[in-house]
């Protein structure tokens, strides 16, 4: 039997990890396994002062357990890819590994008062989004769908914490997760 794994970097708050794991288990029909990732400092880019999501995905591929169908990592570090200023997360489309950054999902990042409820909601939506990519879903034109592209937290807040009917149907048609 193959499992969906959620791997947490050492700095991730365990309560947030539990919320994300529970949401993914509910959506993808569990069981979801936890995994400790340790430090992700190796992906630090001194020039950008951010963490590269590409070396992180490379490491995840190397450490992916044999019984993992998909592996989603979570980190508090701010991620980037070379051509973009930041990414909320990145996943191999229809592949095995993906990562979500919590850094920009917190109100504190924007100089606002912390709000745990808002943060957890955003974290679950982004975890669903990147896992959707792992199962082969591309961005959805339906703005309320968890698979719609969000480049700001405002756009994340406008989404629902769920897939739209069309994306849900694509997932059911293709549970193995090649591109749909």
């Amino acid at each position: 039997m193959k499992y969906l794994y959620v791997a947490a970097a050492e700095e991730v708050e365990r309560g947030a990890l539990a919320a994300v794991t529970a949401r993914l288990a509910a959506e993808f029909g569990g069981p979801v396994r936890d995994m400790e990732l340790g430090s992700v400092d190796f992906a630090f880019d001194a020039e950008r002062r951010q963490y590269g999501s590409i070396p992180l995905l490379d490491m995840l591929l190397r450490r992916c357990p044999p019984d993992a169908a998909k592996l989603l990592a979570v980190t508090e570090r701010d991620l980037f890819i070379p051509v973009l200023t930041f990414v909320f997360g990145q996943a191999q489309l229809g592949g095995r590994v993906g990562v979500v950054s919590f850094a920009r999902l917190r109100q504190e990042f924007y100089g606002l008062a912390a709000n745990r409820e808002i943060f957890l909601e955003r974290a679950c939506k982004e975890a669903l989004h990147e896992t959707g990519h792992l199962f082969g879903l591309v961005h959805c034109p339906e703005r309320k769908c968890a698979m719609s592209l969000a480049t700001t937290v405002r756009q994340i807040d406008l989404k629902d914490d769920a897939f739209c009917a069309a994306c849900g149907a694509r997932l059911r048609r293709n549970p193995e997760g090649t591109q749909v």
Binding site: V87, H133, H139, T151
Partner: protein, 452 residues
């Protein structure tokens, strides 16, 4: 929709190339990568990508600008986005001058890149839709697509092809519904002016003063409601073709104005003092016998001769009955798509009915009859009963007694209403049946508030 569009990312740094490609793939695009300018040009030779992301600085003697220029030589319409880490005003100006659609500095905000790609794809979708519609329209009015096996019609279509690239004026005569505009469009589409405007004006629909402004445009303030300068149809049709339908209905004053345009290819806007010159091919059409109108003094002979350089007389449908089965099949095929009905043929009995009908409204009436039958039919074959309304229309009218106390105006209203109903709302045909011109009929419809 997105998956139809392909994107090429060109960068010598693999990580840069692959990360942008992966990000765009998540958006549903099919993305290829190239690690050098040469590689990119080779790929562009094999496939036309919707968008090219090209890094400005690349080694190997072929930088981003050179790559872009070579791609543009292969695909002049290509949308190329230059990416650079070292932004200077000079490089940005050079890139834009050489035809880059956008110039972005990496790293860039994800929102910026997403909006940029969406904007370009939106334009590409519109351009593609436009191309498809243009092709459809050209096919619809193509000489070869006119449905007829009648020798006279075939001669006409051959003539259309021969005269298509000339500038000579054409006069098309024929009864209502014979397809005069279709022939005019076929002439336009078969000639050198096919990609230029085709502007159709119905001369019967408008009063003299309105028609003058419609033809030649007007200057701001030239009359009460002239709030701004307006170009007329002749200016709009410049370099293309103007189709003047129902030319026999224009007033004596407009006949003089039109004669001047045909002689000089120039005119003045209403209220204007500046001469406007145009290069327009004129195709006119009429359902009245213009030669007779000239003999009766209702139409200027000099204008008639100017218009009648090439004359085309379209026979009525009753004179080419062999076309009825062909046309009926053609309409069934077209309308089954348009109406979404699974109708494939016309039964023999129905065909006999169609062949026996007199078709005063010609091809247009036949088209309307097929559509009406298709709307109400239940099966895949149109039968005699689906065309029952034709027999009713042909049945002799009951003797009509004039109600007591009826005024002439009451009678006129009843007559006009009944005629419009009988012609299924075809005003041109109703006017012809009533023996009045269309502008008079429009006035009466307005006066009596008759629904159309």
């Amino acid at each position: 929709m997105k998956t139809h569009w392909q994107i090429l990312v060109v960068d010598d740094e693999e990580v840069m190339c692959e990360s942008l490609a992966a990000w765009l793939r998540e958006d549903g695009y099919v993305v290829d990568t190239a690690s050098s300018g040469r590689d990119a040009v080779e790929k562009a030779r094999l496939r036309d990508y919707a968008i090219y992301f090209v890094d400005l600085k690349m080694p190997g003697g072929m930088d981003g600008i050179e790559t872009m220029m070579q791609i543009r030589r292969l695909h002049p319409e290509a949308s190329i986005i230059i990416i650079t880490a070292y932004a200077t005003v000079d490089t940005a100006i050079t890139a834009m001058k050489e035809g880059a659609q956008e110039y972005i500095v990496k790293p860039c905000n994800p929102e910026e890149i997403s909006l940029l790609v969406n904007r370009i794809i939106k334009v590409k979708n519109l351009q593609r839709e436009n191309t498809i519609l243009r092709k459809k329209l050209t096919r619809q009015y193509c000489v070869h697509d006119v449905v007829s096996k009648n020798p006279r019609m075939q001669e006409i279509m051959a003539l259309c092809g021969e005269i298509a690239s000339l500038r000579s004026t054409v006069l098309i005569q024929g009864e209502s519904g014979t397809g005069k505009e279709l022939v005019a469009r076929a002439i336009h589409n078969a000639g050198d002016r096919a990609s230029k405007p085709f502007v159709a004006v119905s001369c019967a629909a408008l009063a003299e003063t309105l028609l003058e402004s419609e033809f030649f445009g007007h200057e701001k303030g030239s009359f009460t409601s002239a709030n701004q300068q307006k170009r007329g149809k002749f200016e709009m049709a410049n370099t293309g073709t103007i189709f003047l339908d129902e030319i026999g209905d224009i007033s004596p004053k407009l006949q003089v104005d039109l004669l001047r345009v045909l002689q000089d290819r120039s005119f003045y806007r209403v209220g204007g003092s500046e001469e406007v010159r145009v290069d327009v091919r004129v195709v006119a059409a009429t359902h009245v016998n213009l030669q007779q109108a000239v003999a009766e003094g209702n139409f200027r002979d000099d204008l008639y001769y100017r218009l009648n350089v090439i004359e085309i007389r379209i026979p009525p449908l009753r004179a080419r009955r062999e076309d009825i089965p062909l046309l009926a099949d053609h309409f069934v095929e077209r309308l089954s798509h348009e109406l979404g009905k699974d109708v494939s043929e016309v039964s023999e009995g129905a065909l006999r009915l169609l062949l026996d009908h007199n078709w005063p409204g010609n091809v247009r009436e036949l088209e309307n009859a097929v559509e009406r039958a298709m709307v109400t039919c239940r099966g895949p074959v149109l039968t005699e009963s689906d065309f029952g309304f034709l027999a009713q229309a042909a049945a002799p009218a009951p003797v009509w007694a004039v109600p007591a106390g009826m005024t002439i105006e009451d009678m006129e209203k009843v007559l006009i209403t009944a005629t419009i109903q009988r012609t299924q709302g075809n005003i041109k045909e109703a006017a012809s049946v009533l023996g009045i011109d269309r502008s008079t009929l429009y006035e009466k419809i307005k006066k009596y508030e008759i629904p159309r």
